[in-house]
């Protein structure tokens, strides 16, 4: 490629990025600008809606003192433990259910009842059972995130292409071989759609658990700041949680990219 052509290609790339980015960037700048102006000159009550500059100041102060890192670490740890447990349990129970009609018939009514119940309502009980430490939050996060993984696993294992199964069966493959070599990899694109939901749910479970009873975590920080009417601090932690949630989502997307290099960027499995 000549330097001239490369420059033109780069220009095209930049224009494309610009055409994609200006609407959200412009919208964000407009909202933040109006918000800041309203807080400074419009008489907005800082206890209701503090200025963006004040929120950023709180972020800087929180990270400067090391308090935010410490509590962020606790919340993230709880969420990650819950995430791993939810995936292992969801895929494990899903595999059992799709492998055995008896297990499916036995567990189905209970699973449906448990799924229909708002898991958040268990939070006070879970605190009584597992205490104020991280494990009550881990359990709550795992309980909420378990179902999307379970459901997507069952759907994925059921959707397995019969042609692929014929190949294994014509070789006299064992059930374990069929599961490992065909069923589980075939189900992965489905399972990942459940994991995408689960990664948001574990953060939810962790924070709600901290609201009910905890010694540390971003949820406890929000409660404390709220009681002191430090609204800017509350906003700064909410911003932090949004960033954390996005980070986790990107982490899952990166993992999907690694494991599902053979599948399309989104949606169901391709046929081959």
């Amino acid at each position: 490629m000549s330097p001239e052509a490369r420059r033109r290609a780069l220009g095209r790339q930049a224009r494309l990025w610009f055409s994609r980015l200006w609407p959200p960037l412009g919208f964000g700048a407009l909202v933040l600008g109006g918000w800041e102006a309203g807080a400074r000159w419009g008489g907005l009550d800082p206890m209701i809606l503090p200025a963006p500059g004040e929120i950023i100041e709180q972020l800087r102060a929180g990270f400067g003192s090391g308090i935010y890192q410490a509590h962020l670490g606790v919340t993230l740890l709880q969420a990650m433990f819950g995430f791993v447990i939810a995936i292992l349990a969801g895929v494990g129970v899903g595999a059992l259910i799709s492998a055995s009609p008896l297990v499916e018939r036995t567990l189905n009514p209970f699973l449906i009842a448990f799924e229909a119940m708002p898991k958040i309502a268990m939070a006070p009980l879970v605190i009584v059972w597992f205490g104020y430490g991280i494990w009550s939050k881990v359990v709550l996060a795992a309980a909420i995130a378990f179902f999307p993984v379970l459901v997507s696993t069952i759907l994925g294992l059921r959707a397995c292409d019969p042609g692929r199964l014929d190949v294994l069966h014509s070789l006299g493959a064992s059930r374990a071989q069929v599961f490992r070599l065909v069923r589980l990899p075939s189900a992965l694109p489905f399972i990942f759609s459940g994991i995408n939901v689960a990664v948001v749910f574990v953060l939810l479970g962790s924070i709600v658990g901290e609201f009910i009873g905890a010694r540390a975590g971003l949820g406890t920080l929000i409660l404390a700041a709220n009681e002191n009417l430090e609204t800017a601090r509350v906003f700064s932690i909410l911003g932090l949680l949004a960033a954390l949630g996005m980070l986790l989502h990107f982490g899952v997307t990166a993992l999907r990219h690694r494991l599902l290099f053979w599948a399309g960027p989104q949606g169901g499995p391709p046929t081959a």
Binding site: D161, G163, R164, D166, V167, L168, H169, S170, L171, G172, A173, Q177, L181, V182, P185, L260, F261, W262, A263, P269, P270, T271, A272
Partner: protein, 282 residues
């Protein structure tokens, strides 16, 4: 109407007499499917056939005549049938290592490279890894896919995927290669090429081949014998030997005996109302 001017083949029985015992022997094979309404559909009715070592035999018939059921029984995918089926003298009850199967769809695992797909049966059967790897590479070269070992199925064309499936069916060195309309999903041009390749692969690997197809021209082009099936119930109505020298090129379509054989099978399938012109595709 073109009169079949080729010498009419000797009327032959369903069991072709052979010096050695046949590699595949099917006797009085029947299969009944229960329907949702509780009725019973006779899919196959007392089918008998022999296939000798090294022979290329095709089974043609209209859609729904039960030819795929025959293949699935030979592949060990259907176990509840009546009658006797044996491969290499051993009664067949379930999948056999003596059999390699190519299905209508390539059915490759999209997360495995071409090479890893060919190696799948070796993994399932617990074959020696090094030996299987070397053989898989040879087979991929034989089906014309040298240099494509690391490609994923999504990066291959339909014809290439079916070549990988053929290599996969041969990795454990089975005595029999079963093919269920392997090129049905391919376009006509690719299909012709693949048929020439399949003839070469069958000759080179010296495998016994049993091909299910609804293309009469394909069956005549490839086979030593063509078994003609009728439907409801599925049974073999005639065995047509193809007396054309091998190896055959695509120009054999112009041979009068080819046309006559195709026409003869077409008449068997369609009755006397059949058009006199043999179509290439069917």
């Amino acid at each position: 109407m073109i009169a079949p001017d080729a010498p009419r083949a000797q009327p032959e029985g369903l069991h072709r007499p052979h010096d050695t015992s046949p590699l595949i022997a099917v006797r009085e094979l029947s299969k009944v499917y229960p329907t949702a309404k509780g009725e019973r559909v006779q899919a196959l009715s007392r089918i008998s056939l022999d296939i000798a070592q090294g022979e290329f035999v095709s089974l043609v018939g209209p859609s729904g005549c039960g030819k795929t059921t025959v293949l699935r029984i030979l592949a060990g995918l259907i176990a509840d049938y009546t009658g006797n089926v044996s491969v290499s003298g051993k009664a067949l009850h379930g999948p056999s290592r003596e059999v390699g199967v190519v299905f209508q769809d390539a059915n490759l695992m999209p997360w495995r490279t071409a090479l890893a797909n060919v190696l799948l049966p070796a993994e399932v059967l617990g074959l020696n890894r090094q030996a299987a790897r070397a053989r898989a590479q040879e087979l991929l070269a034989m089906v014309g896919l040298e240099g494509f070992e690391r490609k994923l199925p999504g990066e291959l064309s339909g014809g290439m995927r079916q070549r990988v499936a053929i290599a996969r069916a041969l990795i454990h060195d089975p005595a029999v290669l079963l093919l269920d309309e392997p090129f049905g999903a391919l376009d006509a041009m690719t299909r012709d090429t693949m048929n020439v390749e399949l003839a070469a692969i069958a000759a080179r690997s010296k495998k016994t081949v049993f091909l299910i197809t609804h293309s009469i021209a394909e069956a005549v082009f490839l086979s030593d014998r063509v078994l003609v099936m009728s439907s409801r119930p599925g049974r073999i109505v005639e065995v047509i030997p193809v007396q054309l020298p091998k190896p055959r090129g695509l120009d054999i379509i112009a041979d009068p005996h080819f046309a006559a054989t195709v026409l003869r099978i077409r008449r068997l399938l369609d009755g006397d109302a059949a058009s006199g012109l043999p179509s290439i595709a069917h």
